[in-house]
């Protein structure tokens, strides 16, 4: 598997489906598109037919009567049935898959993402798999998330800004929160999006299936720098990812 180049990821349509559930969500969009185009075309053709066929002609009066109301309810019924089918058969199962069925923590790459004006702070637990304590009081320019170095669990923690490194073909479980205002964690190529609200911690997950670099774009107006609150998800092979963790740990012990 070679990493995807940006021109392969982003085109005129939806971006390349780079996560395990992206194709599933896209399939739903395609069904919706087909159905909505069908409804619109039928409707518009019938309206155009009426406007031409029943245009005012001298000596031809309009009809006083109408079709029965029951006949007119047939298209309404068809649309209702279709919409119910979409919701129950396709929509809600895929919603539940993305938003409610989370991977097991032990089998996943677990990360804290802490949004702030205007950056994404990525907090990895390191080899011990335990997140160190954080406190707002400790936040400084060198310590954006306020990691408490006196906590032994924090010794091997790694913090990265705007560069979100993840392994391919393994679910990543994200605990998402915000330090100040509402942001929205949005990776278009993964079809992942979730608001990061201060005072809340929300779980989301994704499983990348392609190597490459994918943009994170804040999707909620969060202030002056909203337009440049971008980051990258960098998808590695598991070996590369482990090597990256090692490198960061070495850098940390040096400093």
């Amino acid at each position: 598997m070679t990493p995807l180049t940006p021109d392969k990821i982003y085109g005129w349509g939806v971006p390349f489906a780079a996560s395990s559930y992206a194709a599933k969500l896209d399939r739903q969009l395609n069904i919706f598109h087909a159905a909505m185009i069908l409804i619109f075309v039928c409707w518009a053709v019938y309206m155009a037919y009426c406007l031409i066929r029943y245009r005012a002609k001298p000596g031809v009066p309009a009809e006083y009567g109408h079709l029965s109301v029951v006949t007119s309810l047939i298209p309404d019924g068809i649309i209702l049935a279709f919409e119910m089918f979409m919701i129950f058969a396709i929509g809600l199962p895929s919603w539940a898959h993305v938003m409610e069925n989370f991977p097991v923590e032990k089998e996943a790459n677990v990360v804290h993402v802490i949004a702030q004006q205007f950056a994404w702070n990525i907090h990895y637990p390191g080899p011990d798999g335990v997140f160190g304590r954080t406190s707002i009081k400790l936040i400084s320019s060198g310590n954006p998330i306020g990691l408490d170095d006196s906590d032994p669990a924090a010794k091997d923690d790694i913090v990265s800004i705007n560069q979100f490194h993840v392994p391919v073909n393994k679910p990543t479980l994200v605990y998402l929160s915000s330090l100040d205002v509402i942001h929205s964690f949005n990776v278009p190529a993964f079809r992942t999006k979730q608001d990061a609200t201060p005072g809340m911690q929300v779980r989301i997950w994704f499983e990348p299936i392609q190597l490459g670099t994918f943009e994170i774009a804040c999707a909620q107006l969060c202030g002056l720098g909203h337009y440049r609150m971008r980051g990258d998800v960098i998808v590695h092979t598991q070996d590369e990812f482990d090597a990256w963790i090692k490198k960061k740990l070495a850098e940390k012990s040096e400093s």
């Binding site: 245009r55 031809v60 938003m99 205002v181 509402i182 337009y227």
Partner: protein, 574 residues
């Protein structure tokens, strides 16, 4: 005898108002028709301001960081203000005054055969409170740090404390402007509702009330029952800003999501507050220009009632990814799908009303048909967003922008222009120019679609909303050309409105005089003179039948005014 007495009273009323001073006739008027015109002109003026904000934003999106002619470079702080003010102005200061206030004020009393609103002074007060609200909003552009930059939805904590934006006065004035506007429209709404219930002409039962009046009353009802929670929410937001409270600030124990619930509990019915009056105009126009009874009168009124009831239980579909419990997606997806059914019924009824007609595509009818086509696109694309799973990807993208412009623009502008042209002869006593009206329609229709259709594509590609500089993202690179195309289309769309301005003002002063009933319509407003004098009717009208009796067989004329006495009775009295 009865008729004569009314006539005498009508004349004396007319006389006593005839030599009024300018200030009482044109400024502090209590005449519902003059107040309607005041709302209309205020709303159209605000549309110019709104269009200017659109111009600056589109310039920045197509030609980032270059100087926009007549302004300069649109910097990020200004862009966020423009985004906020464009939404606020177009929804609350164009849609609301032009459609809700101007239409309800003009149409309801005339269609139900009333001499005026039941509370004329309250009516005047509601307009002047609205003017105060406009002044507040416009003033916020000029205060230190500028206007609010928190988006028209004003999500806290961004809007709750100046430490996040550096804007204090702009946000306070923004909240104040909305508060005054809500006060104004509550006064107006009480008036429309009371007038509708108490001042209908003799014989005008609820099942004979024209659909326009029904839908205008529906809009005010939607507003009443939803605005209360938002007023409470706005007060808390104001206190967070000025009194240091923490209703929405988590570090003080507050809850940011509370605002979203309160805002959207109002926000979704608000869509119908603006949409129903547009629909009202179109429903009135279709039978007149297809010369046949409207299809499914009762079905449509009941559908509206069902839609209004459902509109209070769909709000969380704006919040699928806000962090609320994901299990809430199911009930709100279902109610959202259900609410599309009554509107589908209404749209199909309108379509069925064309069948078998004798259709004349005059300017009001063109706008009505344009409304149907464009609004249908808005409705169908809403299905994507109402379904929780597809909402994940589309939420916060330009797909949403395109979707709500395909619902608001048809309602406010297609519906609004349909109404303005249809009731123009009644309002000003002169005819508009049919040729300019058609040129204006086609310019608007074509370039509206050229502007907003590609935005669906851009949104599908992942462009997020409220981005001050699209050149920051690799994901947006491939849309550079398309963004330029959209911007040029938007400029032509805005420039095309000059045709309307010329037609409007030329016709007000120089248009040919209009007869009382130029479109040969049935409803009561057409039995009054064009324009109706203060007091509207020379004699109190009496209603004998429903509003849509067109092309009755065995009649020479293809329409029967609601107040024309039945044949037998007319002979009897003679």
């Amino acid at each position: 005898m009865e008729g004569n007495r009314h006539q005498a009273r009508g004349n004396s009323a007319h006389h006593s108002h005839g030599d009024e001073k300018f200030i009482w006739k044109y400024v502090f008027s209590t005449d519902h028709k003059m107040i309607a015109k005041q709302y209309l002109f205020t709303g159209l003026f605000m549309a110019l301001v709104g269009a200017f904000t659109a111009y600056l934003m589109r310039w920045q999106l197509a030609y980032p960081n270059t100087a926009a002619p007549g302004w300069g470079v649109v910097t990020a702080d200004k862009f966020n203000m423009l985004v906020t003010m464009h939404g606020t102005i177009m929804v609350f200061f164009v849609g609301m005054p032009v459609l809700v206030a101007a239409l309800s004020n003009f149409v309801i009393p005339l269609q139900i055969g009333a001499r005026d609103m039941v509370f004329p002074r309250l009516n005047m007060l509601s307009y002047w409170v609205f003017v105060a609200s406009v002044v507040c909003l416009l003033a916020s552009f000029f205060v230190p740090a500028g206007a609010s930059a928190c988006g028209w939805t004003g999500y806290p904590p961004l809007s709750a404390s100046q430490e996040y934006t550096g804007i204090f006065w702009g946000v306070v004035l923004w909240i104040l402007a909305l508060a005054l506007e809500f006060a104004s429209f509550t006064m107006g709404g009480i008036n429309y509702l009371a007038t509708f219930m108490c001042a209908r002409a003799k014989g005008l039962t609820y099942s004979r009330v024209p659909l326009a009046t029904w839908f205008l009353v529906g809009a005010s009802l939607a507003f009443f029952f939803s605005v209360g929670p938002l007023i409470a929410g706005a007060i808390m937001l104001l206190l967070d800003n000025v009194a240091g409270t923490g209703f929405y600030l988590p570090q003080k124990g507050g809850e940011p999501l509370l605002w979203q619930h309160l805002f959207w509990f109002f926000g979704h019915p608000e869509v119908y507050v603006v949409f129903l009056p547009g629909l009202a105009a179109v429903l009135e126009i279709i039978p007149v220009f297809s010369r046949k009874p409207i299809f499914g009168y009762r079905t449509m009124v009941w559908s509206m009632a069902v839609a209004l009831a459902l509109s209070y239980v769909v709000w969380a579909h704006h919040m699928f990814i806000s962090g609320m419990d994901p299990r809430l997606a199911m009930p709100f997806s279902i109610t959202t799908i259900l609410i599309s059914v009554p509107f589908a019924i209404i749209i199909f009824c309108m379509l069925a009303s064309l069948r078998g007609g004798s259709i004349r595509l005059a300017t009001p009818m063109l706008w009505a048909v344009g409304f149907l086509v464009t609004f249908l696109i808005g409705g169908l694309t809403g299905i994507f967003l109402g379904s929780a799973a597809s909402n994940i990807y589309f939420h916060g993208t330009y797909f949403v922008v395109a979707h709500f412009h395909y619902t608001f623009f048809p309602a406010v502008f297609f519906g609004g222009f349909a109404a303005i042209h249809f009731w123009f002869p009644k309002m000003f006593g002169r005819m508009y120019s049919e040729r300019l009206g058609k040129i204006h329609f086609w310019l608007t229709f074509v370039f509206f679609n050229c502007t907003f259709w590609p935005i669906f594509q851009i949104g599908s590609g992942g462009m997020i909303r409220r981005i001050a500089d699209p050149s920051q993202y690799r994901i947006l690179d491939q849309f550079k050309t398309l963004n330029v195309f959209v911007t040029i289309s938007a400029f032509i769309l805005i420039a095309g409105q000059i045709v309307f301005v010329i037609n409007f003002f030329w016709s007000i002063f120089r248009g040919p005089a209009a007869e009382a009933n130029p479109f040969r319509a049935n409803t009561l407003e057409w039995s009054a003179a064009s324009p109706p004098p203060h007091g509207n009717f020379t004699a109190a009208p009496v209603v004998y039948r429903g509003p849509y009796e067109y092309s009755l067989p065995d009649r020479a004329e293809d329409f029967v005014p609601q107040n024309e006495p039945p044949l037998a009775q007319a002979e009897g009295t003679a």
